[in-house]
Amino acid sequence: MKILGISSFYHDAAAALLIDGLPVAAVQEERLSRRKNDAGFPVRAIEWCLGQAALEPQELDAVIFYERPALKFDRVLMTLLRGFPHSWRAFPKAMNNMLGEKLWVRGVIAAQLAVSARRVHFTDHHLSHAAAAFLTAPTESAAILTADGVGEWATLTLGRGRKKAGGATTIDLMREVRFPHSLGLFYSAFTAYLGFKVNEGEYKVMGLAAYGKPRWAREMRRILQRTDDGAFALDLAYFDYHRAVDAAYSKAFIDLFGPPRDHFEPIDLSTALGQHYADIAASAQLVLEEVIVDIATSLHRETGLADLCFGGGVALNGVANARILREAGFDRLFVPSAPGDAGCALGAALWADRILFDRPHRDCPDHPFWGPAVVSDDLARLAAEDGFPFARLSAAERIDQVVEAIASGEIVGWMEGATEFGPRALGHRSILADPGNAAMRAWLNRDIKFRESFRPFAPVVPADQAETYFELPPGGARLGRFMSGVFPVRPQWRGKLAAVTHVDGTARVQVLDRGMAPGLHALLIAYGQRRGMPILLNTSFNLAGDPIVTSVAEGYSTFRRAGMDMLVADDVMVRRQRARQEHVLEEVA
C-alpha cells in the first residue's frame, strides 16, 4: 500500500511517503523551496517523495492530511465569536485565510495531485503528533504525550499506544487540554515578548533562559495556573492570541512584565534590561517545565508504563525533556527527529496505514535520514568550474584530512548521504568544529552563522563514550539520539569543552550510535585518537534565516558565504583558498 502524508498551511510544511508500512521518503518543503519554515502546499516535497519511489500520484492508494480542516475552522470561528466584539479586526483576516484555501484541503490535494478526492483522508492534528512519536519509536507499549500551540481544538493530549511487529496497533488518546489554554502558546507569547519570531525563536528563549534567574516565576504561575484536575489554564487577561491576528500578549502582560524587547536591538546581558529579559526567559522556562513534568508524572502513575513518547512542538524543548526523563518516572523518553508539524506528515501516513487501513505494524528504521541525498559529482564540477582545489578521497583519507583540519582550528562543512527529516542537523548536514576552543563559539555565532552571541552550540559524541563526558540519566542516551535532551557536561570536562558548554554547564548533546551515521562516527573516533576526546561541535549547516542545506550546490554556496575552511560531500573535499577566492570575487564585482 502506498500512502502519502502531507502537513501544510500553518508552519513547516512537509510530505512523507510510506510503502507497505515503511517510510521511504520524507522531507520538509523548506529544504527544497529554500524558504525557512515554508508553510505553503508542499508541491516540491511531494514531487520529490514520489520521484524517490518512481511513482505517479495516481498510483497512490491514499493521501492523508495531518489535521481536520473543518474542525480547525470550527475552532477559529468559535474563538472569534467568543471574542466578539474585540475580535472584529481579526475576523476578516481569519475568514479570508480559512475560506481562501485552508478549508478546502481535499479539493486542493485532489487538484494538485490529480487524484480522486475519495482517496484523500484526514486525521486529528494531535493524533498525527502521537503517531509520529509512537509509531517510529522502538517500543511496543508506551504512554503518549503531545503538546504544541494548537491543533484543531486540542493543545495537549495524553494517551497510550500499543503495537507489535506483524500485529495490530492501537493509539488511545484519553484526554486533552483545549484552546485557548496552551503550553505552546504560553511559550510563544514570551518568544514574541522577547523579540523573537514566533514558531521559530522558541529555542532562543530556551538558550537565553540559562543566563537568567527565575525571579518572575510567581507571576508566571499566576498566569499559567494549575486546575484542580491536574491540567492547567491560562489567565486569558494576559494574552491576545485568541482575539487578535498579530498579537500574542495583552496590555496586562506588559503592565506585569514591563515593555517588550525591541527586536531591532541585540540583547546585552551586561545591562539590567538584558538581564531582565533573561530572567523572564528563565521564569517562563521553569514554569513550563514544572507543568509538563507534573503532567508527565501523573501520566506515568496512571499508565504504569516504562516508556513515554512525546510529540508536538513543545517536545523540541530539550531542557524540559531532560527533566521529564529525570523526574517523571519513565525509563525511556522517545522524541522523534521531527516532533513538530513537519513530522505530522509521517505520523499521519503511519496512522493511516496502521489504524485507518488496519494493516499490521512494521518497525520503522530508527534514523532520521529520509531526505534527498548528496551528489558528490556536483561538488567536483562546481569546484572545478570555480577554480577551487578539490580532491576525491577514500574514506580513510577523508577522515584524516578532516581531523587534521578541525584539530588545527578550521571549520568544516560536512555533507553525507540523505538529509535529516526534522529541524536538527544530526550528522548528514552539519558544520563541524573544535569543541574545546571557547573563542570558536563567539566566532561561529558572529562570523559563520551570523546569529545572537548567547546561542549555544551542540556537541556530538559516540554513544559508548557519552557518559564519560556528560551526566546522562538512565535513558539519556536514547533522548540524545536525535539531540532532544539537554544534559550537564561533567565538571571536569567543561573547560575542555568550552565551545559546546552552555553558561549553565549543560549541552544539547547528540549521542551518536555507529549504525546511524557511520561516517561521522568514524570521524569522532579518529578525532578522539588525535585530541583525546571523541567529541565535535556540531551545528546545522545553514546561515541565519536560511533552511539547512539540502543539495551540494547549497552546501557549496553556504561554504563560500560563511567563509568556512573545508567542505566535504561524501567522497569529495573542497578547500578554501582565501587569497584566490577573494581575487576571483574582486575580479567579477
Binding site: R34, I64, R68, P69, A70, L71, M78, L81, R82, F84, P85, W88, F91, P92, K93, M95, N96, V105, H121, F122, D124, H126, L127, E152, W153, A154, T157, L173, M174, R175, E176, V177, R178, H181, T227, D228, D229, G230, A231, A233, D262, F264, E265, A352, I355, L356, E385, D386, G545, D546, S551, A553, E554, Y556, S557, R560, R561, L585, V588, A589
Partner: protein, 238 residues
C-alpha cells in the same frame, strides 16, 4: 515626484522605517541571488550572481546600520510598520522572484529592470536628503552599485541570449506591469472582502456570539475527553 519624496524622507520616523524596510528587501534579494548562483549552470553567471548577492548583503547591512542609528535618536520609535509604508516599484527589489522557474534570459532581464528602477529611485531619494548627509551618502553609494548591477546584467543578457536581449527585456517589462496590476487587484479585493466581512461580523454575528459565549462559560478549563478518541475510522474532515 520631488515633493512626495521630500515628504516621505523628511519625517525621521518614516526615514528610519524606510531604511530598515530596504534592509529587509536587500537581504531577500541577496537570498534570491545566492539561490540563482546555486541553480545556474553557467560558471561565469554563477560568479556574477555570487558577487551581486554579496553586494546585496552589504547593502542590507548599510541600510540596517543607518536605519538603526536614526531609530536610536528617536524618543519613541513607534511601530515597525504603519499604514502607507508600502513599497514603491523601485523599492521592491526582486519581488518574490522564483529563481528556479525562470529561464536565464528572463532572470537577467528581470534583474536588469529591477536594478534600473532601484537606481532611479535611489538617485531621486538622494536628491531630497540634503538635510541628512549620512543617509544620503549611504543611498548614493548603493545607487552607484545598482548602476553596476544594471550594467553587468545587461552585458550578460546579451551574452546568454544573443539577438534576443531586447525581446527578453520587453517580456520582463510586461511581466512587471502584470505583477503591478495583480498586486493592485489583490489589494482592492482584500479591501472589499474585509469590508464585507466586517459588515457581516457586526450585522450577523451578534446572536451567534452570544450563544458561543454561553457555551464557553459552560466549558470549564482542565481536562476534556479527547476529540481524537471518537474512534473515527472514516478519515473525514470533521
Amino acid at each position: 515626484m520631488y515633493p512626495v519624496h521630500w515628504l516621505v524622507w523628511i519625517d525621521p520616523h518614516r526615514r528610519a522605517r524606510k531604511l530598515l524596510q530596504f534592509a529587509e528587501v536587500e537581504a531577500d534579494g541577496a537570498r534570491d541571488l545566492f539561490r540563482a548562483a546555486e541553480v545556474v549552470q553557467d560558471p561565469i553567471l554563477r560568479r556574477r550572481f555570487f558577487a551581486h548577492a554579496r553586494d546585496e548583503v552589504r547593502h542590507a547591512s548599510l541600510f540596517r546600520t543607518r536605519g538603526l542609528a536614526l531609530r536610536r535618536r528617536l524618543d519613541r520609535p513607534g511601530p515597525d510598520h504603519v499604514l502607507g509604508d508600502g513599497l514603491l516599484p523601485g523599492e521592491r527589489g526582486f519581488d518574490r522572484l522564483n529563481v528556479e522557474a525562470e529561464s536565464m534570459s528572463a532572470l537577467l532581464a528581470f534583474i536588469h529592470l529591477s536594478e534600473r528602477a532601484a537606481s532611479h529611485s535611489f538617485a531621486a531619494y538622494g536628491a531630497v536628503l540634503g538635510h541628512d548627509p549620512e543617509t544620503r551618502a549611504v543611498i548614493q553609494q548603493i545607487a552607484r552599485d545598482e548602476e553596476g548591477h544594471m550594467r553587468y546584467s545587461r552585458v550578460e543578457l546579451s551574452r546568454v541570449a544573443p539577438g534576443q536581449a531586447n525581446r527578453a527585456l520587453w517580456a520582463s517589462r510586461l511581466r512587471r506591469l502584470w505583477r503591478a496590476y495583480v498586486r493592485t487587484a489583490l489589494v482592492m479585493a482584500d479591501m472589499i472582502a474585509r469590508l464585507i466581512l466586517t459588515l457581516l461580523y457586526f450585522l450577523l454575528l451578534p446572536p451567534f456570539a452570544l450563544l458561543a459565549r454561553r457555551a464557553a462559560r459552560k466549558e470549564p478549563p482542565g481536562w476534556h475527553i479527547c476529540n481524537a478518541c471518537r474512534n473515527d475510522r472514516t478519515g473525514g474532515q470533521y
